[in-house]
Amino acid sequence: MPNQPAIDVQNISKRFGKQVQALEDVSFQVQPGELFGLIGPDGAGKTALMRILTTLLLADEGQARVNGWDVRKDYKLIRRNVGYMPGRFSLYQDLSVEENLQFFATIFGAAIEENYGLIRDIYSQLEPFRTRKAGKLSGGMKQKLALSCALIHKPSVLFLDEPTTGVDAVSRHEFWEMLQRLRQKGITILVSTPYMDEAGLCERVALIQKGRILSIDTPANIVGSFDKPLLAIRTDNMYRLINDLRQFESTHSAYPFGDYVHLALDRPIWPEAVHAFLAAREHTGIEIKAATVTIEDSFMELMTRS
């Protein structure tokens, strides 16, 4: 079957206890060789979804297939053929870098030499610390080691649960460069992240919030779907600014965005009108400029709509 999706999720629901609806009717497909992002804030249900797909949890409803294998029935086949990197650093801290890699290679029945080509780029940076205990590595190094261990058996599908959380900006950048290279080697990658700015690095993304998928599309299309004029505004009193802007007649939505407040408008109006409105409300140090739409703006928009 040439067109069989690498990951096929259909109407998956998962509940923890009676109160928490972790996932609600989630469906999406990831094509072979695709770098697919699962983007959403903490508690959106990303980890639960990852665990269902890696056969660690059973869904209450719906079906999911990885490489055509059912996550419930064919869990042994899936476990043999996928790579999984949990959100928390999950290697042996008292084992050295080398011993960890050797251990995971062996339990997957692989030899390091065989698949070294796949991890060379990543592991070569760890080579100088070969004998260092994994627990003594820096955050970025830990992630590289975990990725090496998840890749050493040449998985066809790679699941990465928030691989860049708690990692410095430089390491994050490097990590995503590695993912791009892996994708070129034909590995399907499902990666989850709470960082909206990382969404643009994926081929397609699913925006997920409170267990529901808001939108699935390419990052460009998601940004493009935002059709409202957008201004970035800053004054000396940011807290009052948001409340005041929300009372402005043409405001569609206003929300904090870095050092600014992003103001989405129902219709195009002159920035001077906004300036005048704020000045009338005794704001000082007013700065208004046009803002470029990002995934986060789309996400906020989708959230308010749903």
């Binding site: 056969t55 949890l57 059973l58």
Partner: protein, 368 residues
């Protein structure tokens, strides 16, 4: 097979790299044996006693001397009147007072019955009983010697022979007991912690998403700990033999084989606990609470099973430690071979198989 080997190697790294835990594990049996051997003992040496000698004859002096020479007693004060006795006990100066009646020799020569009174402080009943027994034995033996050659009218005496432990040394009781407790607790606790630690650190998650079978994980965990537990058993046995003179009369090989069997039983019990718990602390508490008390109280280590209420006697049958203590006492003290303990061995083996099967069955292949 390769998977199992690397798993065992990984587990061995965990054990040997955690130097502090290793030190505690190997030091604990030593401390326990020495504590039991020197401090917790019901043998009595050099107990302070007082004498009220109203006879002041040769005979009473002889008896007193023998008591002093026995090593059990240290003769403290000589009292002068009956009223002194009460005062003396109240001051806590003495554990026992021996009262010799006046005219001991004369009465004996005239064949009138004589009574030597032994007054003991029974606030600690065990000590009191032991002291009285020691003293009576010394006096009895003295009388026997005096009567030698003389025809006595109708005397029934008992001749006591204490088999296997003629001097009634308590080391014979506590070495098997300590080995049992240490093997049971350490083995169960160590494995239950080793597995829950992987759950806590999240490494179990990665192991689950791998082709490793539950049986490989369980067996890989158990094997290094068998060796560690046997090292502990060896330490206890050697301390028992060299410091306290505990004999090993049976086959050493049989003893080791039985130890291995018991260790496997305990380890699999630990794994069973870990399959049902999520954190190291809970696992440790359960191993301690659920295993320590029954092992100490119901195994026959301290309290004889025969004198327990019927319910507890029945309950003691499911305690693996009970069977192991029977086995180990037989092998070490009586020097019996396998043909006398096959039944107990079979019971232990059955328990081990049951626990292993139950833990592999209970092993969660998913997170929830």
């Amino acid at each position: 097979m390769k998977q199992l080997l690397i798993f065992i190697r990984k587990e061995a790294y965990h054990i040997f790299r955690d130097k502090r835990t290793l030190l505690i594990l190997l030091g604990m049996p030593m401390v326990q044996v020495l504590l039991f051997g020197f401090a917790i003992t019901n043998e009595i040496n050099n107990a302070r006693i007082a004498i009220l000698d109203l006879s002041k004859g040769e005979m009473s002096r002889d008896i007193i001397q023998r008591m002093a020479a026995s090593g059990y007693f240290e003769i403290g004060e000589n009292l002068h009147s009956l009223s002194d006795i009460e005062r003396h006990f109240r001051q806590g100066k003495t554990k026992l007072v021996a009262v010799f009646p006046p005219q001991l020799e004369e009465k004996l020569l005239r064949n009138t019955p004589v009574q030597i009174q032994l007054v003991a402080d029974a606030t600690d009943p065990n000590t009191a009983t032991t002291l009285i027994n020691y003293a009576s034995a010394i006096i009895g033996r003295y009388m026997q010697e005096q009567n030698q050659g003389k025809a006595l009218p109708l005397a029934i005496t008992t001749e006591v022979k204490m088999l296997y432990n003629p001097r009634l040394k308590s080391v014979y009781m506590f070495v098997p007991g300590v080995i049992t407790i240490i093997l049971m607790l350490m083995s169960a606790m160590m494995t239950s912690i080793a597995i829950t630690r992987e759950k806590e650190l999240g490494t179990m998650e990665v192991l689950l998403v791998s082709p490793l079978r539950p049986s490989t994980i369980v067996i890989g965990k158990v094997i290094p700990y068998i060796l560690l537990a046997l090292t502990m058993a060896a330490i206890v046995l050697m301390l028992g033999a060299f410091v306290f003179g505990m004999p090993i009369r049976g086959s050493l090989l049989l003893l080791i084989a039985e130890c291995v069997l018991f260790v496997i039983t305990s380890l699999s019990l630990g794994i069973l606990i870990s399959t049902r718990t999520e954190t190291q602390q809970v696992a440790m508490l359960i191993s301690l609470m659920a295993l320590m008390l029954p092992t100490i109280l119901l195994s026959g280590f301290i309290f004889p099973i025969e004198s327990m209420p019927k319910v507890l006697q029945l309950l003691s049958n499911i305690i693996p430690a009970k069977w192991f203590i029977i086995i180990i006492k037989n092998v070490m003290l009586r020097g019996t071979g396998f043909d006398f303990i096959w039944k107990e061995t079979l019971i232990l083996l059955g328990m081990a198989l049951f626990f292993i099967a139950a833990s592999i069955r209970n092993f969660k292949i998913r997170l929830a």
